[in-house]
């Protein structure tokens, strides 16, 4: 029996389970896998965080350095977000520059940070029109078992929340914490026809007809949406997704605040 046929049978099986509201790993439709967040894991970075969602694992490092502002925003800092899907993390990742998936992922993570005004960019101006702080958010995927988006977004904001501006290294006085104004949380759901599953694992991601990532700011407002995949969704289903996602976003936010607020912060090692 060839791979295609097996895949087809497996797909039918998962859709049938879904019809009964069940998932292959036994989770409820609106249940995330186990989430672990560790911060300050990379001492060479200005901020860092490791996030595990089930077997999915990403490491996010934030580096800062002075640079020239864009000419149309002379008094604002610059955020550059990059995702490396290094081949260590999955047999399907190839060495080389980011492909369309890695680029989409980086841009969705970036969008959440940017549109929620998580970082006060004007506070990053060193000298108007000449020098501003550049923030590099680098997401390094270590283990890919689905839902890289939520893990990366969570890692990015966690890393930013623990970032110290390296003033000293560049002769600008003492290091100071980066001010965070809003905490965007991304929640990804997958469409299985009769069911919406949150936090799809790798197999679910391959089989679902489409995914939607909704990003919510601290007061529950939207800070970005991305539909991905070739499925179609009717309006009712989208409203349904909004409801589920906004609820899960609050759970994740509490989880995150719990970690950043307590002693886990100084843990080392990844």
């Amino acid at each position: 029996m060839n791979d295609k046929i097996i895949a087809e049978i497996r797909k039918d099986y998962i859709y049938n389970l879904a019809r009964r509201g069940e998932r292959i790993d036994g989770r409820r439709a609106d249940e995330y896998r186990d989430i672990k967040i560790k911060t300050d894991v990379i001492q060479k970075a200005e901020g860092s965080a490791e996030v595990m969602i089930g077997n999915t694992r990403v490491l996010v490092g934030v580096k800062m350095q002075p640079g020239e502002p864009f000419s149309d925003t002379p008094n604002m800092g610059i955020i550059i977000t990059n995702v490396e899907q290094v081949p260590l993390a999955s047999p399907s990742f190839e060495p080389g520059p980011p492909d369309e998936n890695a680029i989409e992922l980086a841009r969705v993570v970036d969008r959440g940070i940017r549109e929620s005004n998580a970082v006060d960019l004007e506070s990053l101006c060193i000298k108007e029109g000449e020098e501003v702080w550049m923030i590099f958010i680098d997401v390094h995927v270590l283990d890919h078992d689905g839902n890289l988006t939520d893990a990366s977004a969570l890692g990015a904001i966690a890393a930013l929340m623990t970032t110290k501006i390296p003033n000293e290294r560049f002769g600008y006085g003492e290091d100071t914490p980066l001010k965070i104004q809003n905490i965007p949380i991304a929640v990804t759901t997958a469409d299985f026809g009769t069911q919406i599953f949150v936090d799809p694992n790798l197999e679910e991601e391959h089989i679902c007809s489409s995914k939607v990532t909704m990003i919510f700011g601290s007061s529950g407002e939207f800070a970005g949406i991305q539909k991905t995949g070739s499925g179609r969704l009717n309006v009712e289903k989208i409203y349904n997704i909004v409801e589920i996602s906004s609820k899960k976003a609050e759970e994740l936010r509490e989880k995150l605040l719990g970690v950043i607020g307590n002693g886990d912060k100084k843990e080392k090692g990844i």
């Binding site: 295609k4 369309e100 989409e104 539909k227 995949g229 179609r232 009717n234």
Partner: protein
């Protein structure tokens, strides 16, 4: 550099005089190109967009072939002269993301299983950009696919809705896009009303999102009428509903 206007809504009207739910003028030409298997030129406001479809045709390199269905490729590309500051030729990260999600939107209607081992290539050139290029590109691509005779479950029709001065407005102008609070491009399959494309940048409340989605769908339906008219103008004798 444009100066940021003090207000984008003045006396209940938009700066260009449009109503909140009013599209910019749209012109659609079916089949302007000779080499392509199907093509479409769209002017949407000051956007000028040319789409071409090649295929179904053989896949190169071969290892990309799929035995059960056609692959679909979509390339959104901006001409260097299409924007205020010359754009370096070649794809940037933004173009790559737009190409991916636009391709997926069209894959949701193309009957790919009719053409195993082949490719359907969709190329869209943004010749002049003025806010809303990705939806204009999708609209042109959709018509070009029809012009190429590619079987589809329905036409994809796209439109964006945005938020400016705390007001939801359809089809953002360049100014509204630059200084607005949110932009949400949407595409639907007109005959079913299902959503094939959805992105949102900026911030809006959940309540606003619901209203915005409805407005966008209405906009898409207006676009669909124009696409249909343009296709009928060329292929009018054949189908008559």
């Amino acid at each position: 550099m444009l100066q940021k206007p003090e207000r984008l809504i003045v006396d209940g009207k938009r700066l260009d005089g449009r109503a909140f739910d009013e599209l910019r003028p749209v012109k659609i030409v079916v089949g302007p190109l000779h080499r392509a298997d199907g093509s479409c030129y769209i002017e949407h406001g000051k956007n000028k967009v040319m789409a071409a479809v090649y295929g179904p045709r053989e896949v190169h390199p071969k290892h990309l072939q799929e035995v059960t269905h056609a692959i679909v490729r979509y390339r959104y590309n901006m001409a260097p002269f299409s924007v205020e500051d010359r754009k370096r030729p070649g794809p940037d990260r933004r173009s790559i993301e737009i190409s991916k999600v636009s391709r997926e939107a069209l894959e949701s209607v193309i009957l790919k299983e009719y053409f195993p081992r082949s490719t359907i290539d969709i190329f869209v050139e943004i010749l002049q950009a003025d806010a809303g290029t990705r939806v204009a590109a999708l609209n042109a691509a959709s018509v070009a696919l029809a012009d190429a005779g590619i079987p589809m479950k329905g036409l994809v029709s796209a439109c964006s809705v945005g938020k400016v001065d705390d007001t939801l407005v359809l089809d953002l102008s360049k100014e509204e896009d630059n200084y607005g609070q949110a932009d949400m491009p949407v595409a639907i399959v007109a005959n079913t009303g299902e959503i094939a494309f959805l992105q949102m940048d900026g911030h809006m409340t959940q309540e606003e999102f619901r209203k915005a989605l409805e407005m966008a769908i209405d906009g898409c339906k207006q676009i669909y009428k124009l696409q249909r008219e343009a296709l009928l103008a060329k292929y009018g004798g054949l189908e008559n509903e």
